[in-house]
């Protein structure tokens, strides 16, 4: 694939055309050619961008998201020179109110990234216009398999590519398709899991909102491979925009003969519908999700039987994650070898992550497997905020684990993360600095898990509540000798006796923090001390008498009047009244207030 550093989208809406959009387009190509930029910058036509009556002819430059308006061919040489050679935005050509739009979710790719799933996520195409997607080789993979490949050949290609499921467990996708294809029965179903419930993760939402057809196309190809006639996208109700975009995409695909009866004139038929969740994290688990589509409580069922044999309404069903499907068309178009050449021996291709926490650049990234945590945190993430020290990296969402800073050179793939006591999960990646209390983190995730347990299994329902009680007690300074051992025993019970991945994964945040940060647990329990100075019950705000100037700022800002002292004399905090809000330490100009 060619990689362009920028894309220029020229609006060729009828009004813009009348106002000379084609001249703009041609002048642009000439000018880029003259300046030797033609291989770096791609010029494309698009439908309307701004209001053509008042702003046309106009164009959009990505990834910057700069919108130049009311252009004449005479503007172009200057614009190309300034914007693309000197890297300066030409203010006089900008639309009045819309200066540079900053995208808080995805930045232009950094050098260590490869964007396959997110390739169209930076506004390169209009998600509501199927023709934009088609112009970017969209549905070419579908046309190719329908005319040239048998279902078995499709499965073979996906197998060889090494693609593994991106929804959490990393099961080889080609193998899953093979099971569903070989399962007896004429009626088969295909599901896309868009329930993305991990807090902080929004990779799937971004793909659905910016490039819905990449998922639709992947699903149609999968349906052809396994022989499914009906498909569902199960999207969480918290994503109304994604649902809306997806419905438009499906409608347009149907109009273009890409869904429905006899797709592209072949004898293959497939229907696709969107289903919305109703607010239950556990519905992301595949068997709970199918129960929910059937109109039941979204509670997991025992496996086996696996969905491939007995899934939706008891029929063979294939279920994959949004990101898994979004890879498929690219694999068909570029070949299994191309895909398998990216990544590590264990894990092929790329993975999207939602980078969050104490890192300078947060947002969505996409890296080849094998990229190290160090490269992700420092080269792409820009390092730790306020130049603090890295303490740990949490991957895998609520049922994931914490990897200590000492393992920052770990290459990210399914195997390495599992060996380090965490999981790949769906792509949450939270960076934690030295001020993070690991017991508090374990407590936080257990709170989430306990809340979302569907209650079907006793160990999961009761065990997670017990673990939360113990963790809360430790953070409150009431930890007892034996609590760590009690937690470990509960972890074993809950992890082995629960039905679904929620209960089975519940121990991860606890076990991984005990494994790598046992001394922190011990400090809380035996010394009643929180080394990160986070747990409120275990810290005291103290005014250093020799530093305090008696300026009274702290006393005036304390919400509970815990601070006393005469003007110009050292002040004092009453620990029994203090609620440990930390405001005084923030407002003191002399750094006289210390956490002990």
């Amino acid at each position: 694939m060619a990689f362009f550093r920028s894309h220029i989208l020229v609006s060729v809406d009828p009004v813009c055309l009348e106002k000379g959009a084609h001249d703009i387009f041609d002048t642009l190509l000439d000018e880029l050619g003259k300046k030797g930029l033609i291989d770096e910058i791609q010029v494309l036509e698009t439908s309307r961008i701004g209001d053509p009556e008042t702003l046309g002819p106009d164009l959009m430059v990505y990834p910057e998201g700069v919108h130049y308006v009311n252009l004449t061919p005479a503007d172009i040489p200057y614009m190309v020179e300034e914007h693309f050679l000197k890297g300066r935005t030409v203010d006089k050509l900008l639309a009045g109110e819309s200066k540079v739009a900053v995208d808080e979710e995805v930045a232009p790719p950094k050098p260590k990234e490869i964007r396959i799933v997110l390739r169209n996520s930076l506004g390169k195409i209009d998600p509501l216009n199927i023709e934009d997607y088609i112009a970017e080789d969209g549905y070419a993979a579908l046309a190719k398999i329908l005319s040239e490949m048998t279902p078995d050949e499709v499965i073979d290609t996906v197998l060889k590519s090494g693609l593994r499921g991106r929804g959490g467990a990393g099961f080889p996708t080609g193998k899953k398709w093979q099971f569903a294809r070989n399962a007896p029965g004429d009626e088969k179903y295909l599901i896309c899991n868009a329930d993305e419930g991990d807090p902080g993760a929004f990779m799937n939402r971004r793909v659905l909102e910016s490039d819905p057809h990449s998922v639709v196309e992947g699903m149609i190809i999968a349906a052809y491979a396994i022989g499914a006639g009906q498909g569902y996208v199960y999207c969480r109700a918290e994503y109304p925009d994604a649902v809306r975009t997806l419905k438009v995409a499906i409608e347009q695909a149907r109009e273009f003969g890409l869904l429905g009866q006899n797709i592209l004139g072949s004898d293959f038929s497939f229907e696709l519908e969107v289903r919305m969740g109703a607010g239950a994290f556990v519905c992301g688990e595949e068997t709970a999700l199918m129960a929910s589509i059937e109109g039941q409580r979204g509670q997991p069922r025992p496996r086996p039987p696996f969905p491939a044999v007995k899934g939706l309404w008891g029929k063979p069903t294939n279920i994959n994650n949004v990101e898994t499907y979004a890879n498929v068309a690219q694999i068909i178009l570029n070949g299994a070898d191309w895909y398998a050449s990216i990544g590590t021996a264990d894990s092929k291709g790329t993975k999207t992550f939602a980078l969050a926490g104490d890192v300078k650049n947060t947002g969505l990234i996409e890296v080849p497997f094998g990229t190290t945590l160090r490269e992700i945190v420092y080269d792409i993430g820009g390092g730790i905020k306020n130049d603090k020290a890295l303490k740990a990296i949490q991957t895998g969402g609520p049922m994931g684990g914490c990897i200590p800073a000492s393992q920052v050179d770990l290459p990210v793939d399914y195997k390495a993360l599992t060996e380090a006591g965490s999981i790949m999960g769906s792509g949450g990646l939270v960076v934690m600095d030295e001020d993070t209390c690991m017991v508090d983190i374990a407590r936080f995730f257990m709170d989430f898990i306990q809340d979302e347990s569907c209650g079907k299994c006793v160990p999961c329902r009761i065990g997670t509540r017990r673990m939360l009680e113990i963790l809360t007690r430790i953070c409150d300074g009431k930890g007892e000798d034996g609590d760590i051992e009690r937690l470990e025993a509960l972890c074993y019970e809950v992890g082995t006796a629960s039905l679904c991945g929620l209960g089975q994964g519940a121990p991860n945040p606890v076990l991984s923090t005990i494994k790598h940060f046992r001394d922190e647990y011990e400090a809380h329990i035996y010394e009643k001390r929180c080394p990160a100075k986070t747990c409120r019950a275990l810290i005291n705000f103290v005014i250093l008498e020799d530093v305090c100037t008696g300026c009274t700022v702290c006393a005036r800002n304390c919400p509970v009047n815990a601070i006393s002292g005469e003007r110009r004399l050292a002040h004092h905090i009453d620990p029994d009244i203090c609620i440990r809000c930390g405001i005084c330490a923030q407002v003191c100009n002399y750094n006289a207030i210390e956490i002990q």
Binding site: G279, S292, G357, F448
Partner: protein
């Protein structure tokens, strides 16, 4: 959205209409419940009753599904439902301050409905908008990058 409890004939009528729209089959149960919940603000007992008749499934199963999902409510709610994202990424971006201010301005705690039926305050887990947190959802309108001082302006839009 609507005030207080719903008259039982209205509940039945809405339930009937929605069942017809979706087709009265078992697999439409969750979409049907979600739709009625959206129209009436909650799921009155009569509506559940009507669904059970229309879909020919036991009432216990309808109730079992209705009580499972956090977005469905079997209790009356205020005219406007405010959902506050309580997940970690929002929390650390100033969500804590917004949450305290919100409870303070509404004089409500999570799960409560105001005496004049104007507001119900709820928390939700991550809405996937973490890059622009803190996030609150009022009915179906989403507000991003919320700060405590914006709250009164946002709340004033809903009567």
């Amino acid at each position: 959205m609507t005030v207080g409890t719903i008259a039982s004939d209205k509940a039945r009528q809405v339930a009937q209409e929605v069942c017809q729209q979706h087709g009265a089959t078992r697999d439409e149960l969750i979409p049907i419940l979600s739709d009625i919940n959206r129209q009436l603000g909650y799921l009155p007992a009569e509506a559940l009753d009507e669904i059970s008749t229309q879909l020919k499934i036991p009432k216990s199963q309808v109730l079992s599904a209705a009580s499972f999902y956090s977005m469905l409510s079997t209790q009356p709610r205020g005219r406007h439902v405010i959902k506050f994202c309580e997940s970690a990424p929002c929390h650390v971006q100033g969500g804590r301050e917004v949450w305290l201010a919100l409870q303070d301005q509404l004089q409500l705690k999570s799960g409560e409905t105001s005496p004049d039926d104007r507001w119900t305050l709820e928390t939700t887990s991550c809405l996937g908008q973490c890059a622009d947190g803190p996030v609150i959802l009022v009915d179906e309108d989403i507000y991003l990058n919320v700060t405590p001082d914006q709250l009164s302006g946002i709340l004033a839009k809903y009567k």
